[in-house]
Symmetry: C2
DNA sequence: TTTATTTGATAGCAATACTATCACATAAAA
DNA sequence: TTTTATGTGATAGTATTGCTATCAAATAAA
């Protein structure tokens, strides 16, 4: 059985639904690869079109501009990750165990699941680390937020915040701690690989150390 | 007495030293204002030139491109902040008191010190919150780092890491905790103002709450 | 078989990101 | 006082980016 994971995306993120056609799926697939290779600043629809073998105008039929495409990809990622979390923490009663599992999922490089989607989750994970914050660090955050573009991110944050509150109902900052975990799972990874002196993991460059750091951080706060 | 605070900048960041001429200082002053108003993506040398009353080519005589200018401004900010920290924690023996003071400085909106420099520190602080990470979240981090562009940031992180180690010599992640404090002082501020559901401060939007959160986070970790 | 949908191909335009050149003013050096 | 160096202004030009519009061919649905 080959099960198709379909993530319901916000309609305002695209002009034409990229999941609805071959070209659309190609745009998603190759944009992930190209952003990964070239970085978001150097990424253009022209280059993407050439890579796919279509024209610039063809891309514009699906996405208004590259910012919307980036927001689409990040939203997809957060939706996908929330599914992964609900899947992997299913049937776990102990909220601390659940939270540890969540931290693992956040900070672990994902393997590409070739069966389920045309998107390479492993590359996308790297993109989220390097480019993810650029989706909201803009002048238009307000409007984008009003259009619910960041709902998947906020939902995920709420889910984690709830697990935190389960661990310790008196803890005062569940949402801020949740967003801290999410951001730091990525930033410490980026720092470790590119600006190692900002971390304590420069020598080994092991994800497991980031996980240990985050666990220490979180459970110190919750078990005071 | 009017004391001139001069921050020694990395020579590779500029073509011609902007501190060395009136036009140069104007570039710094107005670029801070323009990036603040328009955001970094919409900021161009053309617009800056028009605002100053010079030409595009005039700006290029000082900065190779807008990325270098952003890196310059962030480097300046971190240098300035390290000075503020060493100034305001001078003569404090107790490392915990020192660390609290540091968290305050990181998370508090600075007032512009019109006397000392032509740069509006208050606007620059806002720029660092919204655009700061774009200085290093690029494909060229490696080369930029080799040229020591991020030294002021790394130095600041080292300073804070040392205070953390003074507080608790057995704590295993002083540098990662330091970079976490720095980043979160800014990100929680950005979230509070633009994506409030990612924080616990959406109702009040008070900086003091971010400070309380960071203090709780840090001293829970250090006083286990 | 008609009609709607999707794509490819081409054109074009305004803005961006630069580089190059010449001339003028001014201030320091000879 | 003349020479020389320095900083700025003005103009021009080019490649790329970001985006819109139009037309025709191919394919699939009605």
């Amino acid at each position: 059985m080959k099960l198709q994971l379909q993530i319901k995306m916000n309609e305002a993120l695209f002009v034409r639904n990229p999941e609805s056609s071959e070209l659309g799926k190609n745009i998603l697939k190759h944009s992930v690869e190209l952003i990964y290779e070239a970085g978001f600043e150097a990424f253009t629809f022209k280059k993407l079109a050439t890579k796919i073998g279509t024209t610039e105008a063809g891309i514009y039929r699906y996405f208004e501009n590259k910012h919307k495409l980036l927001v689409y990809l990040t939203a997809w990622y957060w939706g996908w990750l929330e599914f992964q979390i609900s899947f992997h923490t299913n049937n776990i009663d102990n909220p601390s165990v659940k939270l540890k599992r969540v931290i693992n999922l956040l900070a672990t490089a994902v393997e590409d699941d070739e069966e389920t989607t045309h998107i390479n989750e492993s590359l996308l994970h790297q993109i989220i680390i390097s480019e993810g914050s650029k989706a909201y660090l803009t002048k238009q955050v307000g409007e984008d937020n009003q259009q619910q573009f960041f709902k998947p991110y906020k939902d995920l944050c709420a889910v984690i915040g709830n697990i935190i509150s389960e661990c310790n109902p008196t803890y005062k900052y569940p949402k801020s701690l949740a967003s801290t975990i999410i951001e730091m799972a990525h930033f410490q990874n980026f720092f470790m690989n590119h600006l190692p002196s900002l971390t304590d993991f420069g020598d080994t460059k092991e994800e497991s150390e980031i996980i240990a750091f985050l666990n220490d951080l979180v459970f110190s706060s919750l078990n005071k």
